[in-house]
């Protein structure tokens, strides 16, 4: 016979649960995850390179995982800082998911890591809906991208806990209107901090590191309005994309089903692969893992 069955299950519940588990585990061992989102070419890698180097100079144990569709160029650049770096190739997938991240950290992430920077796939649409277990979500935009970027990608900017403007050294040349940009950010994410940086000129360097460390020390991150949706029903819908509410909403759904493309076949893993451009300190420890569907 034909019947209609009420399911009331959040579609991303499985990812949200995996993210929550990861956040709990990593927090317990003293690691804070920072999820970096931006368009391709907005300067995530250049800024991160500088922040990693700074962290190393200050003796803060950091690591970075960078995701791209192809090439290990970003990992090679980040590895110059001398901190542990891992490249994940998503093989076409437009975003990272929590379970995928968890598997990549297994057996790789050094136990004493205080900050793990995750450079998501360059994309402002898809990664926005996927909680990776981060404690700080950062959205970056370069001065060349237009002041209305936050309005064009409201979900990404609306869920950010820190907004970073990059390439301010060329702001004047491209007539970047800082006030308009700030007003647009404020519209979709009232109260979020906006930081101006230039990896080239040195403006704002260290702020990302400081904010991440503050969150790791229990300082609490900004709670975006968009992440604060209240659920009227007592049973909750389980899609806590927000990091503001760290509830696991555990009701029965989607267990054990491998719905995604993130089975790691772990081929093409070239461990230890030394791209050590500046030779004198420890191996940069780059790892590449191809991600196949």
């Amino acid at each position: 016979m034909c019947r209609v069955v009420d399911l009331r299950q959040a579609v991303l519940a499985k990812n949200d649960e995996a993210a929550q588990v990861l956040r709990t585990e990593l927090t317990a061992r003293g690691t804070t995850v920072v999820n970096l989102l931006s368009s391709p070419g907005s300067g995530k890698t250049a800024l991160l390179e500088r922040e990693l180097l700074l962290a190393r100079e200050r003796g803060v144990a950091v690591a970075a995982l960078t995701a791209d569709l192809a090439t290990e160029n970003d990992a090679l650049r980040l590895a110059r800082s001398g901190v542990p770096v891992k490249q994940v190739l998503t093989d076409g997938l437009c975003h990272l998911e929590a379970a995928m991240l968890g598997r990549h950290l297994d057996g790789w992430l050094p136990g004493d890591t205080r900050l793990l920077f995750v450079e998501n796939v360059g994309n402002l649409v898809c990664p926005a809906g996927y909680d990776l277990g981060e404690s700080l979500r950062v959205v970056l935009a370069s001065v060349t991208e237009g002041e209305d970027k936050p309005l064009k990608y409201p979900t990404a900017f609306g869920l950010a806990q820190l907004v970073v403007v990059t390439k301010t050294d060329i702001a004047r040349a491209v007539e970047f209107d800082e006030a308009a940009f700030r007003a647009n950010v404020e519209q979709v994410n009232p109260g979020v901090e906006v930081v101006l940086t230039s990896a080239r000129a040195g403006e704002g360097l260290g702020v990302l590191l400081d904010r991440a460390l503050a969150v790791g020390a229990g300082g609490g991150a900004h709670a975006p309005v968009m992440a604060r949706q209240q659920h009227a029903e007592a049973h909750g819908h389980g899609h806590g994309h927000g990091h503001a509410h760290a509830d696991a909403h555990g009701h029965s759904h989607g267990h054990g089903h491998d719905h995604d493309h993130d089975d790691d076949h772990d081929h093409a893993r070239d461990e230890g692969h030394d791209h050590d451009h500046d030779g004198d300190h420890e191996h940069p420890h780059v790892q590449t893992v191809a991600q196949t569907r």
């Binding site: 579609v11 991303l12 998911e97 936050p150 309005v225 719905h259």
Partner: protein
């Protein structure tokens, strides 16, 4: 284009529920998609059809209910439709310290219609020759 991942997650969850409920064919899935969920219904419908192929959902219809994003301010009366791009500062007082998003982030499977009953029960009109 994460709609494929979303579609596969929907199919996976429905398959599991269908298995648990003894269903042998799923005919439709009702999904609630908020304005701020970051999902394009047309792209999702396209991916859904592909994701259903070869599963108990083969040929199932996807019914999408969209949900308007609304918010309210703790200091001002009433609620407002935040629109797209969303306006999350209170249109009354201009502040956002006490703004609460009431709806708009939904991405939820509401219900599923399926065929169950004794295994091998006909799911189609019998062909006259068989009768």
């Amino acid at each position: 284009m994460h709609e494929m991942s979303i579609a596969m997650a929907v199919v996976g969850q429905v398959e599991e529920a269908a298995r648990a409920g003894g269903a042998h064919a799923v005919t439709s899935v009702r999904l609630q998609v908020g304005e701020l969920a970051g999902v394009v219904p047309d792209a999702l419908a396209f991916c859904f059809e592909l994701a259903c192929a070869g599963t108990v959902l083969e040929g199932a219809e996807l019914v999408t209910e969209s949900v308007t994003a609304r918010a309210r301010c703790g200091s001002c009366p009433g609620t407002w439709a935040v629109g797209m791009p969303p306006e999350l500062c209170c249109p009354g007082c201009g502040r956002a310290t006490d703004v609460e998003l009431l709806s708009g982030r939904e991405l939820e499977i509401l219900s599923v219609r399926w065929e169950d009953g004794p295994a091998g029960a006909p799911t189609r009109e019998p062909i006259p020759e068989e009768a």
